[in-house]
Symmetry: C2
Subunit: 333 residues, 2 copies
DNA sequence: ATTCAAAGTTGAAACGATTCAATTAGGCAC
DNA sequence: GTGCCTAATTGAATCGTTTCAACTTTGAAT
């Protein structure tokens, strides 16, 4: 059915080895031969079979990237950063969406291992160190993204979520907010827990209490539900500032509040999100948020993965990027 | 290095054929043997090598999806729809981002062919029928998404962009707009051209002229640039309604106009977008737009691809989905 | 004329799973 | 005990590429 390198060799009157050389190391092949082979390939419509190449090579040139939530632009940017850097190493990136489901995460991990990917970048729900360690012991390097590994045995690129959370609440306090609520979850997600810890630290040093609303996920829909509850609260219980653990959540809350029409943002309620997705600045009220440089996380992760694959001596490293508070209208009062 | 099926066979005291059967057709293998093989696999940490499987099988179980712009949530939803449906056929979906670059599109197409994917879903910049036909002749089924094939030789799932464009301008006319501008591009992109044709038709039947502003791409940044020019126009030249060919563009325009502060939306300027991305409803002024059901496009495309791969008699079909006008505040005046 | 190196070329041996015709074993009936 | 059927198992051949040691040719140096 399909045209193989053998067919090309026969038609061009050379051996298979020569065709292979023509494709992979043209300098080894005489110009005339090269030309003849090129024409034959064109004429027969030969296309390399990657499965055979990979089988021979042992490992693929593709990196598997497993993201938590494919619908979050934060991960789209992270993926883009990874792709650009991977290009420079001659690698490609396969993006897979775990859709916040730990089981799907496991299936994808297995899929990537069966494909003998060059390595895996993963931002897991909860780090299942055991599974990841086994994977690595069998020869697939792993780098954690957007998350630190507690036990320092894996490379990781993360953002200092504690600092981010602290910045947000400090800013709210500076602006005169007294009743601050943190919204996000689930709290077993490391990033969320860290942001909360940072927020708590800032609240404590200002002698304020922090209300915590734990959510199941962090989507626009979930935010809308929270927002609808919020506007129904009596004035003395209602917070005057909401720190949402990501922008999707913040936008949802904002939408519900504005739709209701009773409260003004930021007058009655300040809102700050997290991630600085492109749509934060185009929101009903431009959203204050914490910028994480997802593209930088992605590109750095590829670099770490590459070092680890090369067995460099200091290959295992935990990098922490400092986040940046972006103040827009939603918290300016 | 890596554990192969041969190692498992030796350790378990059976032949390679039996191990293979245990994995692929357990009913053929005696329960005791099955158990022993399972234990050996666990003990040795054996993981199937997908490259070898594929080489033997000839084709992979993965569908390649090439999207125009990975940053557009419209395509994220389309991909999700495709993934869900593919699951049911036992297929998986590889998403690749052409990033609006025809050359990258070509490279990705070749990459997918080298991987002998089950089939390709593509939303090309401009259909290069010749390339796609060759690809198909060599055995890779192709389905066009979000675009019709003019010559009916390819299956496609598209949205009736002409109708969508018509709806938008009709709605603007109904609301009393007299000077309507169409913003989008490049016009060689079929979808954009169709939306414009529909808009023109509606404008003509209302005896209005349509101003056309052709853009190079359709991102938020591009929209902002247009918006900044718009607010500087003298009142008698300025349009009273803008139809942007996608939501990103519309959101960018809206942001620039609001930031400038001179014009009110929709009072002075009505804006309508296209796609109904999740952020259209959370915008500064909730954005009127045209809903396309991207998930439906994705899932339907997978179905068409599957039929074509099965060589079903009526496999080549062009499906056209009707879009729906979603009216929000940005065009209500 | 002889020697030697460099440049091209060859073809068989992997890589690891699947397939399938052939073989063996086990059970049952007579 | 013999024959027969089914169930289980075997192992060589295959997929298409890359690799590499071995071989041939060419041309320059002596």
């Amino acid at each position: 059915m399909s045209v193989s390198i053998r067919d090309v060799a026969r038609e061009a009157g050379v051996s298979v080895g020569t065709v292979s050389n023509a494709l992979n190391d043209p300098d080894r092949v005489a110009p005339g031969t090269l030309q003849r082979i090129a024409e034959t390939i064109e004429r027969l419509g030969f296309v390399r079979n990657d499965a055979a190449r990979q089988l021979r090579a042992g490992r693929s040139k593709a990196v598997g990237l497993i993201v938590l939530d494919g619908a979050n632009p934060f991960f789209a940017e992270l993926a883009l950063g990874a792709e650009r850097r991977a290009d420079e190493f001659g690698l490609s990136v396969l993006v897979a969406n775990a859709d916040e489901d730990p089981q799907r995460e496991r299936i994808l991990l297995n899929l990537f291992e069966e494909q003998r990917v060059f390595g895996v970048l993963i931002s897991p729900l909860v780090v299942d160190v055991e599974t990841l360690r086994k994977l690595r012991d069998r020869g697939t390097p792993v780098v954690l993204v957007d998350l630190t590994s507690e036990d320092k045995s894996f490379s990781s690129v993360s953002v200092d979520d504690f600092a981010g959370g602290k910045f947000v609440v400090q800013h709210m306090v500076d602006r005169g907010c007294r009743k601050i609520a943190f919204v996000g979850g689930p709290l077993i997600r490391n990033q969320v827990a860290e942001r909360l810890s940072g927020a708590r630290a800032a609240a404590e040093s200002a002698d304020l209490e922090l209300t915590v609303v734990e959510t199941l996920g962090m989507t626009v829909d979930e935010g809308r539900a929270i927002g609808e509850k919020l506007v129904k609260m009596p004035k003395d219980q209602r917070p005057d500032a909401v720190f949402a653990a990501n922008d999707l959540l913040a936008l949802g809350i904002m939408q519900a509040v504005i739709l209701d029409g009773q409260l003004s943002i930021p007058g009655d309620l300040a809102i700050v999100g997290y991630d600085d997705i492109p749509f934060a600045s185009t929101a009903i009220v431009p959203l204050s948020t914490v910028r994480q440089s997802p593209a930088l996380i992605g590109s750095t992760a590829i670099e770490l993965l590459y070092s680890e694959a090369q067995n460099e001596s200091d290959a295992i490293r935990q990098l922490v990027i400092q986040p940046e508070l972006v103040i827009r209208e939603s918290s300016l009062r």
